[in-house]
């Protein structure tokens, strides 16, 4: 028996094939975003915690409100460095074919009053949250920044209404390896006023 609905949908389907596999490959290779971040971004708002392989670390879950903070650990004697982030540049771009705007934010991180890179242990990393200027809904997506020696860069979608604030979170690794002292926390961000 033929399916009359199939005939209807056949008649209206947009058959324009604007696929571009090379663009997919470029996105996959060029973004250099880690699988964990990408999946978390895609799956945020769903049951992230139910899929441990795809979930953020506990610290990141706390940051985006998916998880209650763990009780303070009494076992740490390491003092987390007092880091400050400074936004050094923002450039807007249309990376996709259809013009979804994105922004590349460059920033430095280092101990307050010291050179970029100070106080950042091996294995540490930084996540950036860009919030809307108008408070428009924008799911809490943290994009991982890349770089080294205190200088980092991240490319992330521009929220509706433009950028209202930038928050940077750091996962600072314990100097001697995994420890209860590891943690993710917001870093004070300095955004210099720029004249246009």
């Amino acid at each position: 028996m033929s399916d009359i609905l199939a005939d209807y949908f056949d008649a209206i389907a947009d058959r324009t094939d604007d696929s571009d596999w090379q663009d997919v490959r470029r996105r996959a290779a060029g973004s250099r975003r880690p699988v964990r971040s990408l999946l978390a971004a895609a799956f945020v708002g769903a049951a992230v915690a139910a899929a441990p392989a795809l979930a953020f670390s506990a610290g990141v879950q706390q940051l985006v409100g998916l998880r209650r903070p763990a009780p303070p650990s009494a076992s740490t004697s390491w003092t987390r460095p007092r880091l400050v982030a400074k936004v050094t540049g923002m450039s807007f771009q249309k990376l996709s074919r259809y013009g979804l705007p994105r922004v590349t934010v460059t920033f430095t991180v280092g101990e307050a009053g010291k050179a970029p890179g100070t106080g950042i242990t091996f294995g540490s990393y930084f996540l950036v949250d860009v919030a809307s200027a108008t408070g428009a809904p924008f799911l809490p997506v943290l994009a991982r920044a890349y770089g080294a020696h205190g200088h980092y860069e991240v490319t992330t979608p521009v929220p509706p209404g433009g950028i209202g604030s930038i928050k940077i979170a750091g996962f600072i690794n314990h100097p001697t390896g995994p420890s209860a002292a590891n943690g993710t926390f917001w870093i004070p961000v300095v955004i210099p006023v720029q004249e246009h």
């Binding site: 399916d3 009359i4 609905l5 199939a6 005939d7 209807y8 949908f9 056949d10 008649a11 209206i12 389907a13 947009d14 058959r15 324009t16 094939d17 604007d18 696929s19 571009d20 596999w21 663009d23 997919v24 490959r25 996105r27 996959a28 973004s31 975003r33 699988v35 990408l38 999946l39 971004a41 895609a42 799956f43 945020v44 708002g45 769903a46 392989a53 795809l54 996709s96 074919r97 259809y98 979804l100 428009a136 809904p137 924008f138 799911l139 997506v141 979608p157 929220p159 509706p160 209404g161």
Partner: protein, 152 residues
């Protein structure tokens, strides 16, 4: 050819057409599908062996689409049918509007994305029986409102 690439070449247009009503335009939907396949390309090792690749990529794409919709600040887009032109397809547009969004999504997956019942079940995390029942109900509801001759 890689399985992800093969799926992309077979299903790109269907995925885009099925997601267009979710994000509001075919252009945005295409962008979402591109991004979803890029993620799938990077993350394919996380696909469980028993899982359908099509359903898995669809889930990524659908969640990206929901995120995109949230970015737009759209609250009422669940009822949007902007991908269909009501002037060109008045009967189908009107008929589809009578379906609840979830049932409509099953219809789009079946007829736009060419998903099998099993793939729809896996993509939406429902049973195949529910898929079959939903499609039967949707067909009945739609056919009651559509003219009997095939669309042209």
């Amino acid at each position: 050819m890689d399985a992800v690439e093969r799926l992309y070449r077979d299903r790109y247009v269907g995925f885009r057409n099925a997601l267009a009503p979710v994000v509001g335009s075919a252009e945005l939907a295409g962008d979402v599908v591109q991004e979803a396949f890029a993620i799938a390309l990077q993350a394919r090792r996380q696909l469980r062996r028993e899982e359908s690749l099509a359903a898995w990529v669809w889930q990524i794409a659908y969640r990206l689409a929901l995120r995109e919709r949230a970015r737009q600040g759209a609250v009422e887009l669940t009822d949007s049918l902007s991908v269909l032109d009501p002037e060109r397809h008045p009967a189908l547009t009107a008929a589809l509007k009578t379906l609840p969004p979830k049932r409509r999504l099953v219809v789009f997956l079946r007829y736009f994305a060419d998903f099998s019942y099993r793939e729809i079940a896996s993509a939406l995390d429902i049973s195949e029986k529910t898929v079959a029942a939903t499609l039967t109900q949707a067909r009945t509801a739609l056919l009651e409102r559509l003219p009997r001759e095939a669309a042209g």
